[in-house]
Symmetry: C2
Subunit: 338 residues, 2 copies
């Protein structure tokens, strides 16, 4: 096991490297941190840390930089989560309070997160798997053409066109609308299928075809809506990647365009608490030199979606984690209010 001081040395290395972006040597370390020992001692400690795989040298006669494993230890044992200052908290709240609809909430969240962390922000739209139906509306556009509008409790609205197999009267329509709503409003998406299963039977045989069509469209929409969406922002922060950024940035930009990859990435994060994936811990190859800090957020106790940032492994973990957590909290509040 590593002694207290060696951990202290590792912490100092991580902090300095994150700050200066340059390999840090034993002398500089003792100067910038009061470790109470001489450079020679630090050198010995560094040799041990290197043996254990926490730090590495880019080349023989250079300082050390933390490895992914080093950052992992730093995040797990050595670093706390740095809370935001209260002006920052107020700024977050003010900024998010101005949002007018769901798109706006997500959009503002992305911008906020990118600005606070100076990294790439990724925000997943509130997932609908746990959403409930607020209202289902049926409109008649033409004798045999309906429009289905689904409104969820997270404020999303989806509409679908339906071509009916047979003309459908205004009274039948009102009837269907009323029965449908009385059954599904307030229910979870996942419960809807069995709740409406027997609806067609209670209609006249001439209307059953249409009712079935409507129902299957509704169910389809529910499934589709469960597909998750993302918003991304702050990509220009990728330029702060460091000197080697021309090489790194390409695969990262590519990964960011593949929303499927990002969704999977966020999906792997724990539902509660914060998840930090460092470098090669990320399955996707393009993100092997980045770290992802993600956290769930939601309007109630349950997380309805995730948000996070993507940045170089050499990032300010405590600060980033603080910002991500704070933003997630406030977004949750905003969603709960609306």
């Amino acid at each position: 096991m590593l002694s207290e001081r060696r951990l202290e040395v590792l912490r100092a290395i991580v902090q300095d490297y994150v700050g200066t972006e340059e390999p840090v040597g034993s002398k500089a370390l003792t100067e910038r941190h009061k470790l109470g020992v001489s450079p020679a001692t630090v050198r010995n400690d560094m040799a041990v840390l290197e043996d254990e795989g926490f730090i590495a040298q880019p080349h023989t006669s250079a300082g050390r930089i933390p490895t992914d494993k080093g950052y992992r230890l730093f995040v797990d044992k050595l670093a706390g989560v740095k809370p935001l200052s209260s002006p920052e908290r107020r700024a977050i709240q003010n900024f998010l309070d101005g949002a007018v609809d769901l798109d706006d909430v997500v959009g503002r969240t992305v911008r906020l997160l990118a600005q606070l962390t100076r990294q790439v922000a990724v925000v997943q739209y509130p997932s609908l798997t746990r959403s409930t139906v607020r209202h289902v509306e049926l409109l008649s556009l033409a004798p045999a053409r309906l429009m289905l509008v689904l409104i969820t409790d997270t404020g999303r609205v989806e509409q679908r066109m339906i071509d009916c197999p047979a003309p459908f009267g205004e009274t039948s329509l009102a009837d269907l609308r009323a029965r449908l709503n009385s059954r599904v409003v307030g229910r979870r998406f996942s419960d809807v299928p069995q709740l409406v299963q027997d609806l067609p039977e209670s209609f006249e045989s001439e209307d059953r075809g249409t009712v079935s069509t409507v129902l299957s469209t509704l169910l389809e929409t529910l499934v589709e809506e469960t597909e998750e969406r993302l918003m991304i922002g702050g990509t220009s922060n990728l330029t702060r990647f460091g000197h080697d950024f021309p090489v790194m940035i390409r695969p990262v930009l590519e990964a960011l365009e593949e929303h499927v990859v990002l969704l999977k990435l966020l999906g792997e994060a724990k539902d509660s608490g914060m998840t930090v994936r460092i470098g090669h811990e990320n399955a996707h190859e393009g993100l092997n030199s980045t770290s992802v800090v993600a956290v769930g957020y939601g309007s109630g106790d349950e997380a309805v979606a995730k948000l996070g940032v993507v940045g170089p492994t050499r990032m300010d973990y405590p600060g980033t984690m603080g910002a991500v957590r704070a933003v997630a909290r406030y977004v949750g509040q905003i969603l709960a209010e609306s």
Copy 2:
């Protein structure tokens, strides 16, 4: 005026530079193009072209590269629009045909355009200034709480919550819904305000407050909806910018994040025909080393929105213009069908 041959030399320079990304010299030119004259003659021509400001030397004793003015001449006089091959056209159509809703159409268009041009694609959502109302729906969520749903002919749906000043009966609601729809359905957004102006007067005095609230919310929504939205894709193509890309990419990424800037940029493009803005012709400073190829698209004769690509000034103009035009056409078709 420039002689025929000098224009030919300029064309050759642009083509070679676009291909090789390196300053092109007189000897290389005569070897790769059959100009029928010797390098020395070409040198003289190049000297003239340089005097006129169409080409420049990065440093003495280097080849020439086209200036913005040179590209401008090339685009205006020397280059056609390269039509796509028919397999490409078929691929476009197939890909776009699979779209299920408006978001999907725009999303697919962005990906398609980015892939075809290997540049950053920007697609504006169909604008609603010329859109018409397909349906307005009013739902009662609570005694004094309504939901307004607006459906447009471009397939967009927007909803707003309304807190009524006074409880609003189910009959009044049905009445308002019916009258509202009979007046505005099929009408353009811009015509709506005067069409509903006198509606409150025809209601009982106790309901007038609510009717007014509903109407003002509707008008607000129409205005807000006219605000334009964008989708962007293919940012990873920025890495193909060339050797100096680390410097260039930053401001470009920043500009791409400012949708307002991009919307203004697209807005400046001509409604019909293609607009090419080269380098410093772009007002936004961050885009001074990029060219923007934009074109309007629409479901009918009128352009309802614009789309385009952003790339290095050193781009394949004929090919890019061809792709942009073709995509715009097919998107227009898709929109017209739906």
